[in-house]
Amino acid sequence: AIPIDDIDFSDLEAKYAIPEDDSLSHFIIVDGAPIAPESKVAVLKKVLTKVFSAAGKVTDMYMPVENGQTKGFVFVEFEDISSVDIACKKLNNKKLDVKHTLFVNKLSDVEKYGVKGHVSDEFVEPKIEPYHESPYLKSWLQDYNGRDQFVLQKGDEVGVYWSKNKNDPEPAVEPRQNWTQAFVRFSPKGSYLFSMHEQGIQAWGGPEFSRLKRFFHPNARLIDFSPCENYLVSLSPTPIEVPAEDHPARASFPFGPESEGHKLIIWDIKSGLPTRTFALPPNLENEKKMVWPLVKWSYDDKYCARMGPDALAVYETSDFQLLDKKLIKIEGIVDFEWAPAGVKLAASKNKDADQHVLTYWTPEQVNQTARVALMQIPSREVIRTVNLFQVSDCKLHWQDEARFLCVKVDRHTKSKKTIFTSLEFFHLFEKDIPVEKLELKDSVINFSWEPKGERFVTISILDVGGNVNPAIARNTLTFFGPEEEKIKNKTKLNIKKWTAFASFEKKHSNTIEFSPKGRFVAVATIIGNNHGEIEFYDLDYDGTNKESSTVNNTGSGNNKYFALTDIAWDPSGRYLAAWSSSWRHKIENGYRLYDFAGHLLREEVIDQFKTFYWRPRPQSLLSSNDRKKVRKNLREYSAQFEEADAMEADVATRELILKRRKLFEDWNSWRSEIEKIQKDLGLTQEEE
């Protein structure tokens, strides 16, 4: 087991001290060298000797070889100890060529921190990798039973478990005390688990959840990831303080002087190195409630962008420099969102190419109406704008495949007393990007697209101006679906129009969670006047006709859960977890597991329960052909699974019986022992 009790970064401080002189102090270890065939070792040695001679005389060099290939790391011995320091200072992060950057560390450091289970402390992690076979980060997908994992955080303990649905979850690793000092987060595809500490962030993964990387960012409070999980973004209220030039720690300090005072860091997760740091925009310095995320990413991690006053800064992640070295001026910009997928623009020369698109909106300004715009990146070309009137707020909702953008426009009446919503739909894949408008009487407070679908659900309320009794259920839940417009004119394309096909009034509901696979949606009321409740809807009620626009509140699926604070679907859309977190209140903390139709499978009431967290899964490796094959043979699989499930259930029952039998025997044997002692002492209750 890995020692978890003290995973702080205190050893980093030790690192700042001058290492003791010992037999290893003449060595450095270099990582990031080219991986080359054995035959090239001599040439490589020559090249590297030349590089490291810059620090002093090289007396020996050892390059491990495995399966006829070098492993990318090298041990270098210097004649003079002082050369070791010089090499670390001058040659660390040296670019050997475009592909190879050298990471230099003292071997004595590695030995000191790398033994006895004390994984090394360096910001520059690669140097310890020679000692570990790096674990397969997708190992959890290799579970023979195809189970999902989730995290349960209770009190100071964090555990990762295999979900066994209604049965007790099985720990994937021994639950760890103080694994994090705040929360844990999975990266978007589930490869890494991140924990939060006073000194920074740690990444864990592989079958044992071993420590993979540490990101030195004291007091980091908020983190976020790029969608392809290449980058980690962290924010700390404590600005970076770069050690003085002559400080021994300066050589390996991960940030240069340009990062002085910065609070926002973008890290490369794989290398563990910072790629770019930023100061907090001045307008956010005194904000009590931080806007997050501050960095938003294109779907493929190729670009990221930050919003500043009246401008958008777009960076290319290849070098994290500003796109075209300049900001994009957008007067009054309030919010922006990247398209969550590549967009095949009809107007583009290459119609099949996935384009990067982002949308932003600006409020009403002098001589200008409020406006929503779509911009193509990297061309910065504004490909569509819509002018809006009497706008009090806009929310940008992309459909997950970026086929549609819905802008929820909250508009005020002329008197400004009440708010009503209109929805503006941008049809990204159509020629000229037509925009459809849907005006509503209500004010929409929640909007959610069906994943990979064309339907959406809203929660709305009629704004009557002034205060209303919150105990009265006034919300309306509405299901919308597309309706093909009749072709009047053959030249005009079929534009989808959305109409409400079902609605439910007098609700307290305030949360919509669509199953990641679509069709099923959970609508919940979360901490509102004791009305905690989850309702499960099936948008294809009939189950036979996909197009049938009926909705069914799946009978069994009305579940009161008054202490409810959160809900989340598993990655497959088969199960919904609901929980009551002690972060929100102290009442009936714990979690429940439902199936998609709202059948309660499992409930645990846990004192101090903090959170439930499904481990995300990356996109499946299966091709559509593979899937077809599987579906064709489903009957065979089904038979296997039925049998496995029956056996599992049998085992569970048998285990319970055995456990109870044992408890009973233990109790009885203890009682008879006590009775014997009592008898021997000649004692009964009433005598003395």
């Binding site: 397969y136 997708k138 190992s139 997908l141 290799q142 579970d143 023979y144 039973n145 195809g146 189950g543 069914n552 799946t554 009978g555 069994s556 497959s572 859309g573 088969r574 199936d595 998609f596 139709a597 059948h599 499946s620 490796l621 299966l622 593979d626 899937r627 094959k629 599987v630 579906r631 043979n633 489903l634 699989y637 089904s638 699974f641």
Partner: protein
Amino acid sequence: AESKEVLSRFNILEERQRKLDEARRIKEEEEIRLRQEKAIAEKRAEQERIEQEAIRRRKEKLLREQEAIKEKEKKKIAEEINAKGIIKIDVDKLEDLDADKLRLMQVEQLTKDKKDLETKLRSLAKKMDHTERAYRRYELPLLAKDAEL
């Protein structure tokens, strides 16, 4: 004297005639009165009969209407049941079924619907679960290859 006698007889005759006339007149008047009374009575009876008839008709009409409503309701319930398409009722032959019986059938129907929905959901749950698990199992060799990279 004769003239006196004649006069007297004449007077007597006259008197007698007068009395006769009087008597006849009274009788006639009496007859007229009786006839009139009879006519009124007959008219009243006729009117009563008509009224009774009207009441009877109204009642009958009401009854008919009620029957129709009942029938309609029965038909409606039956149609509702039929629309669910699980049990079939002949809408034109509802004589031996009253609304209560139909309602009971409807409740049964709803219970059955709920049960059917439940069965449907259970089998859907199984299908979804097995498909997902099958995909994941089929993916295992691909992942093993991926792990070697």
